[in-house]
Symmetry: C2
Subunit: 418 residues, 2 copies
């Protein structure tokens, strides 16, 4: 009775022009409410194919989510499929007409005839208003099944989900006495297999509270979830396992709330009233970019220097030319001098630096692609740590930036840097 199918409509999805992020979004949100997503169908702009998958989705599920093909142009055929499938007709929807009219008024554009037609909606449907575009969504109930029809433009679809559909479906499932809760533990600096084996003695517990390991390029997320007739019970069960996991691998968990380590770092720097300065060679700006993606980062991020050339390392950061000559630009010594240099010139409390060989060129006999040194400097401690990321250029940059942020987070939280 909580089974869901998703139908994504559009040629652009089949030919790979557009990646189907909508289905992932809908799947994630509904799973988090306790619904069970069974299947996703992707079909092109073909009436026949759409009608076939509608029948199929209805036969296996209670809730059917349909996105795409509601635009005003000739290849948007979802509405006419709905008319045929439900054997209904178009009626004029005053509120939608007024909403679309206002949208164009705000943009100072005369409303094109093609958009006027979008106020005609299937008689059987309850209209879901669109806060971000012209096409209305439809909420259709038939024989105990619910169909939600939405535009394919992601932020229009998400607007409808968040303002109307998700709150409604949350009430609905809770009224049936089903509660689902989950938390995510964000780890970094430890591979999935090592994490898994450190938690070995907890496996029996994982059969009760559902535990999943989700690796990404920046770390492994651990998801704990529980479903029962009581929210209180769920939270208690999850908490119990969460604490056991923290006991074993808490050293690698940077948050149970914030997905990005740079955000966690921002909160700590703000609390401790510390300023950060960064000197990047091999990461080429990515490290600063990630730090400044956090709103309010100008409060603690003082400056960054992308010292790509040796001259810039010497001239701006004050790295000793002899250091570069003796040990090379990619060395422990240079990394430390870069971190110290950027801290000194900026009067920041902490200096962080990266230098390495990202590839595909630049390797030498003693310095292979992926060799990286990350330098750290504050008033009490200076060091550089070596890494070997034998990956491609972009991945090497990503992994280096993550390792640098991990070192910073470890120092800020009094953890060991090994």
């Amino acid at each position: 009775m909580n089974k869901v199918s998703i139908i994504s409509i559009g040629d652009e999805l089949l030919i790979g022009q557009t990646i189907n992020t909508n289905a992932a979004y809908i799947g994630e949100k509904l799973t988090a409410l306790g619904y069970e997503v069974l299947k996703t169908f992707v079909v092109g702009d073909s009436k026949e194919d759409i009608l076939i998958v509608l029948r199929e989705a209805e036969s296996i599920s209670d809730f059917i989510f349909i996105t795409g093909g509601l635009g005003p142009t000739h290849d948007d055929i979802t509405r006419s499929c709905i008319l045929q499938y439900f054997n209904t007709r178009l009626v004029f929807h005053e509120e939608t007409f007024e909403r679309i009219k206002k949208l164009f008024e705000r943009r100072n554009i005369a409303m094109p005839e093609i958009n006027r037609d979008q106020a005609m909606v299937p008689e059987i449907a309850k209209v879901i208003p669109n806060d971000y575009g012209t096409a209305p969504g439809y909420d259709i109930e038939k024989d105990g099944k619910r169909f939600f029809v939405m535009p394919g433009v992601p932020h229009e679809m998400k607007g409808m989900m968040e303002s109307t559909i998700l709150p409604d479906l949350k009430r609905l499932i809770q009224s049936k006495g089903i509660f689902y809760n989950q938390i995510l533990l964000y780890t970094t600096g430890i591979p999935e297999s090592a994490l898994y084996s450190k938690l070995q003695d907890l496996y029996p517990l994982f059969e009760e509270v559902k535990v999943a390991f989700l690796p990404s390029q920046f770390g492994v997320k651990i998801r704990l979830s529980y479903r029962s007739e009581s929210e209180e019970l769920n939270l208690k069960k999850i908490k119990f396992v969460e604490e056991k996991i923290y006991e074993r691998v808490g050293d690698y968990i940077y948050s149970n709330e914030k997905p990005a380590i740079e955000e966690v770092i921002g909160i700590i720097l703000t609390e401790k009233k510390l300023k950060l300065a960064v000197a990047e060679s091999c990461t080429g700006g990515l490290l600063c970019d990630r730090i400044t993606n956090v709103p309010g980062s100008s409060n603690y991020f003082e400056r960054g220097v992308v010292s790509y050339s040796n001259e810039s390392k010497i001239q701006i950061l004050g790295v000793n030319p002899e250091t570069i000559k003796t040990f090379g630009a990619v060395s422990e010594q240079t990394a430390i001098e870069m971190a110290r240099g950027v801290r000194n010139i900026s009067n920041a409390d902490i200096g962080l630096a990266t230098t390495g060989i990202m590839g595909p060129t630049g390797a030498t006999e003693t310095k292979p692609i992926g060799l990286v040194f990350i330098g750290y400097s504050d008033k009490n401690r200076e060091f550089a740590k070596q890494f070997n990321f034998a990956d491609n250029r972009i991945r090497n940059k990503e992994r280096t930036s993550q390792a640098a942020l991990e070192i910073l987070w470890r120092m800020l939280t009094g953890r060991e840097v090994n």
Copy 2:
């Protein structure tokens, strides 16, 4: 006879933990060869569901691509579904066993029993070797239909596609006398609607050569494609329309080959032996990051300064404190002085600078979120251009970096900057 279905297997896809990039990749590559992708099915790790979609996919298509569920753990059930569906049995595959053994030897790890089992393959299958992981792929032919079964790990799947499947399917479709060709024209700095209306008189041509407009956050791609029994004819037809498009909107087309404008810029800077230096305030490192994503960028990218604080603008770049006091850090004057400053200190030929208000905080009565100035300086010319990107923080950073790169490209190619 060229109809394709894709089956993506895995709970992680349904619950939105993983976005289905595999289906987009397969769809794009097969479309480019001239195949027609009809449908994608996403199902969880359920034997029953997998068998149902296998039957369905077989009934509507000639080529069925299956990814996911080939790993060594208990929830990887694709292989046993294949055994049941084709009524075949497992046989030991010597070459695969040797390949997996070597993989572990290279990593200096003893081969676990669980991986040994992966050398057992369905008797009916031709093995597709995996260059990047343990699980072999299967190529199965039955009643004139082809099934390709691959792991879900994207780079393992892509490795099999590129080394084995795509070359094979290219020969196959060409042997049937079907040729498909396409080119992409990459534009920037012009919205889809404006582009479309500038090409109005060409619409009749678009019915013959298929033309599609593909907007993204960095610009609009125009795809021209043609399918016939002759590659020569395809290229001639496409060339004819391409030239007409260049005549009308060539001013916005930065490449018909390279997707990233930073790569095009890199080629020009290398050819002209010019050095670039960058001063970023609001983009916070993103502009340098994009420039240094290009292999070999150290040949022309001298340095970048992420001058987030006013002190760093004054101290490193030599911006006049009076300029900031009088006009503000977000102003035409400051943008020009930043560009000039970074060029001067680095002896680069070109200085490029960004300053703006990215949000969500930092707006004032006269300076709203999204206000941006991009500064440019070379030995002949200095200017700053104003933009108003009223978007969210991340999008504002992306749009500003793109606008800066567009200005640089326009200056390097002798185009107007309006």
